[in-house]
Symmetry: C2
Subunit: 334 residues, 2 copies
């Protein structure tokens, strides 16, 4: 059982793997090439993963066998496990609780050689539907407070397997950054009685300096306070706090803009590694006048994490206005 531990000063929670701890020898100081071994996410290798939790497959086909187009499985090396009690407790000045939660992997396609941006709109929509279905299912567990959906693409963004996949971690706490967003949004709402993200959207549409692209339901932009070069956000145009309540027609629009945005990043920046994270409201309460779910995407272009981690202070050499101009200017085939 791993532990969640809370910093007594800042309030940040971390997972500490006391179960299968890694020693100093396992870390590669120098970058290494991607693994060329047998891929557990490939078609025909279904037995190499934990059993399917969810899949897109032909009616009547058996789980964990052929025919699938998308699979969700438990992470083989989970950061959190679903069994056990939280047991929140203190040790002197420190707080901790057990590492209860879920850690799932969404295998977006059986094809090892396609990226998420290579998939069709329908295939990307199937991935988003999987995010939604799994989020809703995990809400039944009262120990869980937050569902974190993210993707690491490429070795330097932390992806340990090359085969395209995203991840879902259901947590018994709300991550620090989300808490900060919620508190900040609450303060803004107290003062102005409006959602700050709705106000931002409105202003961005008026100023038209940092927009990348949009469609019926979504807008992609480079945020005014980008911490990283070419950081970008995708926001629903209408006010929604909870990602998991996304409707079917919105799923298609979200798939369309996510795919388009990824292709713009890929073309403009030479297919960089990236991380994206869906920022959504905690499981309860789901309805919030002041919060607005969105996706944040960071292409991995710089190497300054340690300093910025230590200070919360980011030095970004690329203004978002410039980044948006570059991304907007990409001409895509089709």
């Amino acid at each position: 059982m791993s532990e969640l531990r809370r910093d007594p000063v800042i309030g940040r929670w971390n997972i500490i793997d006391t179960d299968e701890p890694m020693g100093p020898d396992v870390f590669e100081v120098e970058p290494h090439a991607s693994g060329q071994g047998l891929c557990p996410f490939c078609y025909g290798h279904e037995a190499m993963t934990p059993p399917e939790i969810y899949a897109v497959r032909p009616p009547g086909s058996a789980p964990n066998g052929p025919g699938w187009r998308l699979r969700v499985v438990s992470n083989k090396f989970p950061a959190l496990k679903i069994e056990g009690e939280l047991n929140r407790r203190g040790i002197g000045v420190f707080d901790l609780c057990n590492g209860v939660g879920a850690h799932e992997v969404i295998i977006e396609t059986p094809d090892h050689h396609r990226q998420l941006s290579d998939l069709s709109v329908e295939e990307v929509a199937a991935t988003i539907t999987a995010f939604k279905v799994r989020s809703l299912d995990l809400r039944g567990d009262r120990r869980l407070k937050y569902t974190l959906i993210f993707k690491n693409f490429g070795l330097s963004a932390g992806a340990s397997l090359e085969h395209t996949h995203s991840q879902l971690i259901a947590l018994p706490i709300v991550p620090k950054r989300v808490q900060e967003e919620l508190r900040g949004a609450e303060r803004y709402f107290e003062f102005r009685e409006r959602c700050p993200y709705c106000d931002m959207l409105h202003q961005e549409l008026q100023e038209d300096e940092r927009l990348i692209c949009d469609n019926r339901s979504f807008l992609a932009l480079c945020p005014f306070v980008s911490s990283f070069p070419f950081e970008l956000w995708i926001l629903p145009k209408a006010h929604h706090a909870d990602f998991a309540q996304i409707r079917d027609e919105e799923i298609t629009d979200f798939a369309r803009i996510l795919r388009e945005t990824l292709r713009r990043v890929q073309t403009a920046l030479g297919n960089p590694s990236y991380n994206f994270i869906i920022h959504t409201a905690p499981i309860e309460p789901r309805e919030r006048e002041e919060y607005h779910w969105h996706l944040e995407l960071i292409p991995k272009l710089t190497r300054t994490a340690g300093f910025e981690w230590g200070t919360g202070f980011y030095i970004n050499p690329t203004p978002p206005e410039r980044a948006a101009t570059v991304l907007r200017g990409v001409s895509l085939p089709g």
Copy 2:
């Protein structure tokens, strides 16, 4: 003039370089080897840097000429510049001000082939003295609120030049992470009327599970809530909020423990890249019962910055107890 911009939700300030912005072509997506060109920090290349602000050199020797053992110069590509007015202002929901501040480089030795950990205790002490002298000098400027001292060592920790150096950035705002520490420490103090860091130190000494080494004035440990494998902190044993008031005998003790700790990290982990940051109180007020300056060091061993940036949620595969055991167990020559 670059801009400082403030996130309307979280309150984080960033520097946006609107002056000499970098486009998409300048980023290397793949890691690259360290530059082999002419080094501006080497002995005899003094004309390649901006003029000396401070130096350790023989009495009577001329600035920017031979004889030096340590130099402080302005960063040739500064994140902030000392000229101009702050001009805090709003644009709709957004806040910004001009990028006023100082950005200096401490060249720790003329010798290109030595790391900070290779220097003598006296040489490391000279580096720490330079941190102190420059911090105190910049306090005269009323526009500045915070002095950030840090070191990036190695390409993957963000060092753009191989020659060993540290940096000082004087800021017109207090970085977010420091503000969080201050607020958290204030809340703790309100409740217990004690400094939380003093309490932590006391508990760590009692438990003796996460200590690495100590001397008369300082303690090195792996913090209970380490966010990264082998993260370590160095804290003064006595309560001091303000680094810049460090006394001469404490400088020697700090140099001794910093050098020892770096050598332990180097030996245990194969000379990894690392970042360290000195966390100290803002310039005013300097005396704070609830805050305790310290150095945080992060060896660059993992590659997961984007996800963790997006969530404030860190997954650390190495418990600090294990890391401390490894670092404590290193046998150093001499």
